[in-house]
């Protein structure tokens, strides 16, 4: 039995009078590909920032690798990819990686940088400034930055936002790779199709609550969509 990488119990988050999470509980096993579905405002991003330790819950309990993420002890084991690249436009690809590599204290940084640049197909552009890159290339460098320190847990917050078909496929390919390497992946998306294609288990957030959890086996996007809309209706009727 694998030890759960993430344990969330009754998480609640308030921003003043706005409630972003209303008692959310779930677990993510090691090596799982866990997708969180939900509409805009459902609370997905808030949940990820609590898991990454960027925000603290108003109430409830969260453990990541057995520790409170606010303690920052496991920062080197996790990586966040969102629609923000965290890259510096006026640094070259290599300089960006060198910078983050130092902050993560990556060993054999030089070799590692070249390896990840190769992996995302940007090695020939390593001396070019990021602001000369296309959106797809920025995304690839973002991925290189995210895998540079070889983390065990990936938090991906709507990473497909603004990507074209090609970049989307590339990102999906990467996630498949990570999955087969046994990495634990947490993805948030409103795209049922892509989410189901990748995930081993999923959770549905609606109005800051968990309305459904399950494994993705045998589930099609159509089935999930039907289920989703009936749940949304119930939740709306209950308001």
């Amino acid at each position: 039995m694998n030890q759960p990488v993430i344990i969330a119990e009754n998480l609640r988050k308030e921003f003043g009078r706005v409630v972003a999470l209303r008692g959310v509980s779930f677990q993510v096993e090691e090596g799982a590909f866990f997708t969180i579905f939900g509409r805009n405002g459902a609370g997905k991003s808030t949940l990820l920032s609590i898991i990454s330790g960027m925000a603290s819950a108003t109430d409830g309990r969260i453990r990541v690798f057995g520790e409170d993420p606010g303690e920052r002890t496991h920062r080197h084991r996790l990586s966040v990819i969102s629609h923000e690249s965290f890259l510096y436009d006026n640094l070259t690809a290599l300089e960006n990686l060198a910078f983050y590599g130092k902050l993560y204290q990556v060993e054999n940084l030089n070799e590692r940088m070249h390896a990840v640049l190769d992996q995302v197909g940007l090695h020939h552009r390593r001396f070019d400034l990021v602001h000369t890159f296309s959106r797809g290339m920025v995304q690839r460098l973002t991925i290189a930055r995210a895998i540079l320190h070889n983390p065990d847990l990936f938090l991906l917050d709507e990473p497909f936002t603004g990507l074209d078909q090609h970049a989307t496929e590339m990102l999906i390919g990467l996630m498949d790779d990570l999955k087969s390497q046994g990495k634990t992946i947490l993805l948030t998306t409103h795209d049922l199709q892509i989410g189901l294609r990748l995930s081993t288990s999923f959770m549905l957030l609606e109005r800051q609550r968990v309305v459904e959890t399950g494994t993705s086996d045998g589930l099609t996007a159509e089935l999930l969509r039907e289920k989703y809309f009936s749940l949304v209706k119930t939740s709306e009727a209950g308001q």
């Binding site: 920032s49 990454s52 330790g53 960027m54 925000a55 603290s56 920052r72 920062r75 080197h76 996790l78 990586s79 966040v80 969102s82 923000e84 690249s85 965290f86 890259l87 510096y88 436009d89 006026n90 640094l91 300089e95 910078f99 983050y100 130092k102 902050l103 993560y104 204290q105 400034l129």
Partner: protein
Amino acid sequence: MNVIWAIIRKDFQMEFRTKESITAMWIFSLLIFVIFNFTFEISRLLLLQISGGLLWVAFIFSGMLGLNRSFQVERENGNLRGLSLTPADPGLIYFGKFLSTTFFMLIFEALIFPLFIIFYDIQLSLVTLWIIPISILGTLGFTSLGTILSAVAIHTKQQQILLSLLLWPLITPIIIWAVKTTGDVLAGELSAAFQPVMVRMLVFDVIFTTISYLLFEYVVQE
């Protein structure tokens, strides 16, 4: 230590490449000097009395430009969030940003000071050398507060307005002290108040650097 150097190095790499801050700062300071030198017909004596203030207007306003730029690059692609997701101690990240803006301002001040000397025809003597510790103390006071407040303001839409509103009242004492001691130096004669004022600046710097270091972790949290 590695973290601090990584940040300083990165900031300087970017600045030397774009020269965005330094250009804006130069133009701004030149304007101030030119305006006060040629526009107003003021007596030489009066000019000497206000020149310390003029110099610090140039330093601080240029510093504002540099500071804004320094945090704008941490904001463009969510970089500050990226930094706080790394295992690096937030205090060290603060120190890196703080030192890079400080070094940057000091280099700029060293470049602009000779120009100021020429524009205002200041008599040089050994006393003039005191401008070095004064600039360092005054600049540290400005950047220690400026760095933490920029980090606070980074999450808000009206970043620059908020920054000025918070920063000005807090740095007023250190600017007054810096102008006062600079006035002594430019006049070529240190007054009795010189030393105690220098000590006050030092204390101010130590206090605000420490507070900022301790607060930075909470500032970058959401």
